[in-house]
């Protein structure tokens, strides 16, 4: 019992940086995981990855202008992400390019620009900070930002829930009964961007998308309807955050990758043993129902 306490609770009880990291992971999971559910349901899982890279130049310019200022980097990142999302949306509607191709074009330009700015004006330490985040060094402002993003996301998703679901299942029907289709589409893209900016503060640009997508795809093996998927994704996100932080603490490894690896392990376990996973399906195949 004592060992269990030492292993699981003591790190959080003894160190405030661990408690802050835990609060940060909780806020991230509450916001990013539900957004990830809708991204995967819209078959846009890789779009999150692209957008995570797209925010880099804005963040780098914010860093150049104000150093390691949370406000400037967040504002710059959100601006760059929204610009790429809107530009690719307009190109997809106005030209022969589809949205995935136009997004690839703009995010690659954005990423190259970001790496150029960071590598010519910052040190390697800055680059590491941007790429891998600092979940173990979240200050009050960063925690408030993450909590704010989670709150905005949950309220916005509650308001956009029905149009978003219809936009996924039957967009033609939504357009025929309501003018909310563009709001659902662009509002959702804005939620993706602000959650990636929040995730980037804690986990870095490379890892931020992990806490968005891995819990969402894990949830598919546990739940059947959208409400269940949202709940399962948030629980998976929180559990991965706790497990990753403990793994990082005990094994002395970087926390960002540890959290995403934990989420990855939960995904693999669910893929195999979840109620809708491979093994369960195989076992069920040996029997059948009457009707």
């Amino acid at each position: 019992m004592h060992d269990l306490h030492q292993m699981i609770f003591a790190p959080f009880l003894e160190f405030s940086f661990m408690r802050r990291a835990l609060a940060g992971c909780l806020a991230l999971s509450l916001g990013a995981a539900p957004v990830g559910v809708f991204l995967t349901l819209r078959r846009m899982s890789l779009m999150g990855d692209a957008m995570a890279h797209a925010i880099l130049p804005g963040t780098a310019l914010g860093f150049l202008a104000s150093g390691l200022s949370l406000g400037a980097m967040t504002f710059g990142g959100a601006l760059a992400g929204l610009a790429v999302a809107l530009a690719s949306g307009f190109v997809a509607r106005g030209t022969l390019l589809r949205e995935d191709a136009s997004l690839a074009g703009f995010y690659l330009i954005s990423l190259a620009l970001g790496v150029l700015i960071v590598s010519t004006h910052g040190s390697n330490v800055d680059l590491l900070h941007v790429l891998f985040g600092t979940v173990l060094a979240l200050d009050d402002a960063a925690l408030l930002l993450l909590a704010g993003i989670a709150s905005i996301t949950l309220v916005a998703l509650a308001m956009l829930y029905r149009p978003l679901v219809l936009e996924c299942v039957d967009p033609g029907f939504l357009r025929s009964v309501s003018r909310l289709s563009p709001l659902a589409h662009h509002g959702f893209l804005a939620l993706v961007v602000i959650n990636l900016v929040g995730g980037f503060q804690a986990l870095g640009t490379l890892m931020a998308v992990g806490i968005m997508i891995l819990p969402a795809i894990t949830a598919r093996f546990w739940a059947r309807d959208v409400a269940g998927l949202l709940a399962a994704a948030v629980i998976t996100g929180v559990a991965s955050g706790v497990a990753g932080l403990l793994f990082s603490y005990h094994a002395s490894v970087p926390s960002g990758p540890a959290i995403i690896l934990s989420a990855g392990l939960v995904f693999i376990a669910s893929l195999l043993f979840g109620p809708r996973g491979i093994v369960t399906a195989w076992l069920r195949k040996r029997t059948h129902l009457e009707a």
Binding site: R162, V165, V169, D170, G172, V177, S178, V226, L229
Partner: protein, 247 residues
């Protein structure tokens, strides 16, 4: 002729400047049950998208009866719907109540009962809690008709309503369409089966990018018109010059 429900005036609709519907002038009277017929690529679905306001005309315009507002019920082709999405039959059909419940209203009590009644009317009683992905093609088409029932709209647009359904389902769905016709709703249906059109649809609009004919089915579906429709459709030219035709 009484005030039309839908009027096409010198209407040209298309994609990337290529007309899919070219200089069409036609009127659909209120309360009409009209089949829209023509070869593949004749512009039938494009015309429906034009009525829905999804496509902006390249030339001309579509005038909808002001009394109808934009109260239009639309049956899309099944290919336009993501049937792998985890939503139940009840929830998708309930969206037919959108004009009453909007983005936030609940579907409990009387509204919930209406959803179940609509499901029952199309022969899907007992299917409410199933995922839409578990339905067959015919059952899914019945689901979409249940949603149309709840929309209770004066103008109904049906894009290939009998595609991939068996004879019994087609008969049941046709009975619903005839019920709507008796209720004096205006119904425009894109169809391919000419025998079905001759048996059940009093009026027909024959398209082949251009209007071939619009009026009583017997007068429109002549061998001569059908041959003309086929020839016109085959005359499509990717390298066509700029159209100079005026209204």
């Amino acid at each position: 002729m009484s005030r039309p429900a839908v009027e096409f005036v010198n209407l040209t609709l298309g994609y990337e400047r290529h007309p899919a519907v070219h200089h069409v002038n036609a009127r659909v009277r209120r309360g009409a049950l009209i089949a829209m017929v023509g070869p593949n690529g004749a512009g039938k679905s494009t015309l429906l998208k034009g009525i829905l306001g999804e496509l902006r005309p390249l030339e001309g315009y579509i005038r909808l009866d002001a009394d109808l507002g934009r109260d239009i019920a639309y049956l899309p082709q099944q290919a336009d719907i993501d049937r792998g999405f985890p939503v139940t039959v009840f929830d998708l059909v309930a969206m037919g109540l959108w004009r009453e419940i909007g983005a936030f209203g609940g579907v409990r009590g009387a509204a919930g009962r209406r959803v179940l009644e609509a499901l029952s009317a199309v022969g899907l009683a007992g299917f409410a809690r199933r995922d839409i992905g578990a339905l067959s093609g015919g059952q899914f088409q019945r689901l979409l008709f249940a949603r149309l029932l709840l929309q209770d709209a004066p103008l109904i647009l049906l894009d290939e309503p009998f595609n991939s359904v068996d004879a019994r389902t087609a008969r049941d769905l046709m009975a619903l369409i005839e019920r709507w016709h008796r209720e004096e709703r205006t119904i425009i249906a894109v169809l391919h089966d000419l025998e079905q059109v001759r048996s059940h649809f009093p009026e027909t609009l024959l398209m082949s990018r251009e209007l071939i004919g619009c009026g009583p089915t017997g007068e429109v579906l002549t061998a001569e018109n059908l041959l003309r429709a086929r020839r016109l459709n085959e005359a499509f030219d990717e390298d066509a010059a700029v159209c100079r035709r005026r209204a």
